[in-house]
């Protein structure tokens, strides 16, 4: 399975500011996924990031609020822009384990615990 390094692990930010979260994978992957997990809740997919193209956002998430970069096959960033307390959450990046294009599960980064004050 791929190993994902995600940072920062946690941060406390002022409202109105932006935070960029980084994920580095130890192998090349086609797609990287960004999730949000609000306290005590399940995981909600924010967007799928493909190298060389714009990210695909899920309903309720927009590029202006959550811009994503995917400069190569091992790295991606998610920015949480113009933050408000409602953005306080855990943000996780993830990659698929695939064989012959078949998904055999997701591997997650350790997560970024964001608190907006």
């Amino acid at each position: 399975s791929a190993v994902i390094s995600q940072k920062p692990s946690r941060d406390i930010c002022q409202r109105g500011t932006s935070l960029t979260i980084q994920c580095q994978v130890d192998s090349q992957v086609t797609m990287m996924f960004w999730y949000r997990q609000q306290p005590g809740q399940s995981l909600t997919l924010i967007a799928t990031a493909n190298q060389g193209s714009e990210a695909t956002y899920e309903s309720g998430f927009v590029i202006d609020k959550f811009p994503i970069s995917r400069p190569n096959l091992t790295f991606s960033t998610l920015t949480v822009s113009n933050m408000s307390p409602e953005d306080s959450s855990i943000y996780l990046c993830s990659v698929e384990k695939t064989f012959d294009f078949y998904n055999y599960g997701y591997t997650f980064g350790s997560g970024t615990r964001l608190t907006v004050v």
Partner: protein, 110 residues
């Protein structure tokens, strides 16, 4: 809205008791995955089920996929304190991106 449901939301058991969580979908699923998230940790993949009626075991954990491929269960025999965490099922109900269920939070009293 949520297309993959899980019950119960919470379960408190005495160490040594069994535990079961159920995952249900209104649509037929091509496959289903199970994850465990320890408190303060990130989700960790446990298993994937693909075939109708499939049963897989991992030590004290038994995973089952329903005959109609619309439901699944995770059963833990003789729980231990190391089993504490939230168990999520995940499935692609529309054949595209996986959707995670709301999870079942298990606490084990020693």
């Amino acid at each position: 809205g949520q297309q993959v449901m899980q019950i119960p939301q919470y379960q408190h058991v005495q160490e040594g008791e069994d535990f079961t969580t159920y995952c249900n979908s209104s649509t037929t699923l091509s496959n289903i995955q199970w994850y465990k998230q320890r408190p303060g940790g990130h989700p960790v993949f446990l298993i994937q089920l693909v075939k109708s009626g499939e049963v897989k075991k991992q030590k004290r954990l038994t995973f089952q996929f329903g005959e109609a491929k619309k439901n699944s269960s995770l059963h833990i025999t003789a729980t231990q304190t190391t089993d504490v965490g939230t168990y999520f099922c995940a499935a692609p109900p529309l054949g595209q991106n996986f959707v995670f269920g709301p999870g079942t939070r298990l606490s084990v009293l020693p």
